[in-house]
Symmetry: C2
C-alpha cells in the first residue's frame, strides 16, 4: 500500500547518476498526458531526457512498465484514503466528507498521475487493470454516498448513482484547471468544493 505524499513516488534506482526511474517516470507521465500513451514513444522520452534510447531501457524495461508505475502511484494514493480510520468509523456524512477531502488532497499532490488515470481509455491490459482498481475505489465511495442517504443527510430526490457521478465529476475536473502554487491553496480549494457539493451555489 502506497502512503499519501509526493515523497512516496516509486523510487527504485536503477540508472546512472542524474537520472533515476523517478525522473524518467515524471517525464513519461507528462508526455502521456500531452500526446496520449499510444502516440508517445520511448525515443521521444529519451530525447526529452537528453539520453540515448538504449540508456532509457537501463531505467525501465518498457513503456508499459512506466504506465503501470504511474497508474499505481495514483491508485495507491486514492486507496490509502479509504483505509484511514476516519473513512471507516463515525457518521456516514462525516466519513464521506473525509473521503472527498482526502481524494482532493491526493489529486493535487499527484496531479499528473491522477490526470493520467482519469484520461485512460482502456485500450491495453495495463489500462484495463487500472480501470478495474478505479472502479473498486468508485464503488466504495458510492457505498458511502448510499449510507449518507440512508442516514438522511443527503438528498433522496437524485438517484444515488447520479449523485456519486456528480461528486466524482466535480472533484475529478479539478485536474483540468487547478495549478498548485497559485493564490488558491489546496485547503481553500477543498473547502470550496465541499461547500458547493453539499450546500450548493445559491444564497439562502
Amino acid at each position: 500500500m502506497t502512503t499519501v505524499g509526493p515523497a512516496s513516488a516509486p523510487s527504485t534506482r536503477r540508472g546512472r547518476p542524474g537520472y533515476d526511474q523517478q525522473s524518467v517516470l515524471a517525464v513519461a507521465v507528462t508526455a502521456f498526458n500531452r500526446y496520449g500513451y499510444e502516440a508517445t514513444s520511448m525515443g521521444m522520452l529519451a530525447e526529452e531526457l537528453g539520453i540515448s534510447k538504449s540508456a532509457i531501457y537501463h531505467h525501465v524495461p518498457s513503456k508499459g512498465d512506466l504506465l503501470r508505475l504511474a497508474l499505481d502511484h495514483a491508485l495507491g494514493g486514492l486507496e490509502s484514503v479509504l483505509e484511514d480510520d476516519r473513512a471507516v468509523t463515525g457518521a456516514a456524512d462525516a466519513r464521506l466528507e473525509f473521503v472527498l477531502r482526502g481524494t482532493i488532497a491526493v489529486l493535487i499532490e499527484r496531479l499528473p498521475f491522477v490526470t493520467l488515470l482519469l484520461r485512460l481509455r482502456g485500450n491495453t491490459e495495463i489500462e484495463r487493470e487500472a480501470l478495474d482498481r478505479r472502479r473498486t475505489f468508485d464503488r466504495e465511495v458510492a457505498a458511502l454516498v448510499d449510507a449518507a442517504r440512508q442516514e438522511g443527510s443527503i438528498r433522496r430526490d437524485i438517484d444515488p448513482r447520479t449523485t456519486t457521478r456528480f461528486i466524482f465529476g466535480t472533484i475529478n475536473s479539478i485536474v483540468e484547471w487547478y495549478r498548485p502554487g497559485g493564490p488558491l491553496t489546496a485547503q481553500k480549494l477543498a473547502d470550496d468544493v465541499i461547500l458547493m457539493v453539499f450546500e450548493g451555489l445559491h444564497c439562502r
Copy 2:
C-alpha cells in the same frame, strides 16, 4: 451559426452512395475519442468504414478537416445557446440556469463531438483555434456567473473563477458517463445537475 440539434450536423455530400462526409465524420470522431487524434490515421478510418484509403479522400480532403468539422459542430451548438433571447434578457440567475440547461442539452445531443472538444490538448493549430472559441464561450458564462453574484443570488464566499470552474467541471463530466437511451432522461439529468449545483446535496 450552427443551430442546435443532431439534424444540423455538417452534411455537405461529396461521396459515393452509402457514405457521405457525415458518416465519415461520425466514425472519425469515435476514433479520435478512442485512440486520440494523433494516433488515428486516415487508413484506420478507411478500414473502419470498409472503403479504400483513396475513397476516403473523396469525402474529406484531410484528417485535419475532419477534426475542424467535428469541433465546429460542438462549438456551434454551444455558441447558439448564448445567442438565445433567454440567455440575454432577464435576471442573471435565470439566464445562468437557461445557459446551463442549454449547455447540457447540446452536450447530450452532440455527445461524441463535445467529448472531443473537452479532451483537446492544443497540439495543433486547429486544436488551438477551437480552444480559443471554447475560451470565449467560457468567458461569457463566467460573466453571467459574475452578474448572478452581483445580483446577490449566488454565494460570494467562493471566488467567481473557482465557481465557474466548478460549474463547468460538474457539467462537462457528464460526457464521461452519460449514455443516452438509458433510464435517466436528458430532462431529469438537467434537473438533477441544476439542483445539485444550486442547492447542494445536503438535506435541509
